[in-house]
Symmetry: C2
Subunit: 305 residues, 2 copies
């Protein structure tokens, strides 16, 4: 076990409250009075989640989107955010604050509080807590996929990967791909619209294949994915092609913040989404190309542990 | 303006939602359904909030207590916490997890979620979000002190200062003082009991004089403090004496996590507290010794900005 997995296991052993969902879901879900609260806290660290050359405004935007994407996967309506911020170079701070304000205005989500601390170290980290209220109950979880359901994903996959590669190469020539990487958008309204229709839902943050495997595990089912069905954007295909390799990479890179969900086969979905697989009795992930099984790639996504 | 005050001003300018209370209060207060939510997020950074030699279990304990103390000042019942944690040396992490579990068991507060991230820097920071539900409405604020009210504080002041000095000297010979510094306790039940009686309430985190000045400012009143009335423990007096200087230091050092509150003069308070001053028409802080005004010390407490 890595240090991270050891620590997370210690945290799980103490997170016995049902609202914690065993720390196996994207958010905490708390019943309070006549409402259901959805809470999430994500951190980002320099050199881990952003490159030193990154625009601080993009870091702030992404911090907001990553947290709100977790609320989106629960069909939650955001109530506000709290920021944990480590001070540093003041122009960086100023640009971060500008990006934060822009993101909060975009999502119409209020800043409610938080904390600002000095930093005596050589790197920074920032954290955000997002709080929301469920718009539909039961609140969608990873664990609800049932045999016979269809697996869907919103939008396209791989654009953040292509945008990252452009940024690495210093060639930010395709706006949509750069935006997908630097300024991902949480699908809040889609999540709320889908919540009454889905059997399971999560956001694609660590790689779709890895996230689908987690859904299969939580739901105690097998999830079959047709790799040919993975939705790719025209810009992605123009840059990286649509070979099997390219498709597998799009499906195992994180940072997409699309919604991955299952619904009964006859559902009339309220938002556009692509059917990419099926839920079967069994366990784990099964990958198919042209209706024939193919091996899983060595990495399904970004593993925290 | 310092970098921190500039950043905080930027945050205030975007925290326009009434629930944010202009970022001038200890917590956010959100009305939701038939409940009132209380939310706070405090961070602690290495070399800023704890010394490298500190026991990680104490860091975890303090992180929990600091956040729950903010809930206590609102008379809130805690619902749970979310942890933001930067990984580092695994024995440190393990001891931190142990201290966290101990604190959460002490307060009977569940760990609901959070995030664990890698750290490429040379220092760490940890953050905690605490969420609670109001037990009394209106929720106590800093801004409710009225002329004629009496100013009270729970417990004794300065013990954390004395405990810090013992720790610095490597002479941890007085358990109560060391505990006050390393393992402060949030006054959750006292805060809940007091909430219906107080006109204003906050916790003493940055120094009582500074916190009282903030209360005076938020309430648009003058607060007069009788420095002779400051409650000191026997252990504190044995170590540091009860001279005016010693009293001023106890009253301007932070980390006490006592409750500072105002109540009408004829209130029958449900918890033990010491009357240390009065609320008058006017503005700012007035300090008295033996009923004669004395100048304010150069520093009223730990200034974040």
């Amino acid at each position: 076990m890595t240090a991270e997995s050891t620590f997370i296991e210690m945290m799980r052993s103490m997170a016995r409250d049902p609202a914690a969902r065993g720390l196996m879901d994207d958010t905490a879900v708390i019943e309070l009075g006549n409402e259901t609260l959805i809470l999430t806290h994500d951190m980002m660290a320099e050199d881990v989640h952003w490159l030193p050359k990154a625009d601080p405004a993009d870091v702030a935007w992404k911090l907001v989107s990553v947290n709100l994407s977790d609320l989106a996967a629960k069909g939650a309506r955001p109530l506000g955010v709290l920021l944990g911020f480590m001070l540093g170079e003041s122009e960086w701070d100023r640009r971060f604050a500008g990006g934060l304000e822009r993101a909060l205005i975009h999502y119409a989500v209020p800043l409610l509080g938080g904390d600002t601390v000095s930093n005596k170290g050589d790197k920074r980290a920032v954290g955000l807590t997002a709080i929301g209220a469920a718009t539909h109950r039961p609140v969608p979880a990873r664990s609800g996929a049932r045999a016979g359901d269809v697996l869907y994903v919103t939008g396209t996959l791989g654009d953040a990967l292509a945008g990252f590669e452009l940024a690495e190469a210093g060639l930010e020539v395709v706006d949509t791909l750069s935006a997908a990487y630097h300024r991902p958008v949480a699908r809040l309204s889609d999540g709320q619209a889908l919540a009454p229709f889905v059997t399971a839902m999560m956001d694609v943050s660590d790689g779709m294949l890895l996230d689908a495997e987690r859904m299969a595990h939580a739901s105690k089912v097998e999830i079959r994915i047709d790799i040919d069905a993975i939705p790719l954007s025209a810009a992605y295909c123009a840059m990286r092609g649509d070979s099997l390799d390219s498709r597998l990479q799009a499906a195992s890179w994180g940072d997409d913040y699309e919604l991955l969900f299952t619904a009964p086969a006859d559902s009339a979905l309220p938002v556009a989404a692509t059917a990419i697989g099926r839920v079967n009795d069994g366990s784990g992930l099964a990958l198919f190309e042209a209706n024939a099984p193919i091996p899983l790639p060595p990495s399904l996504g970004y593993q925290h542990h």
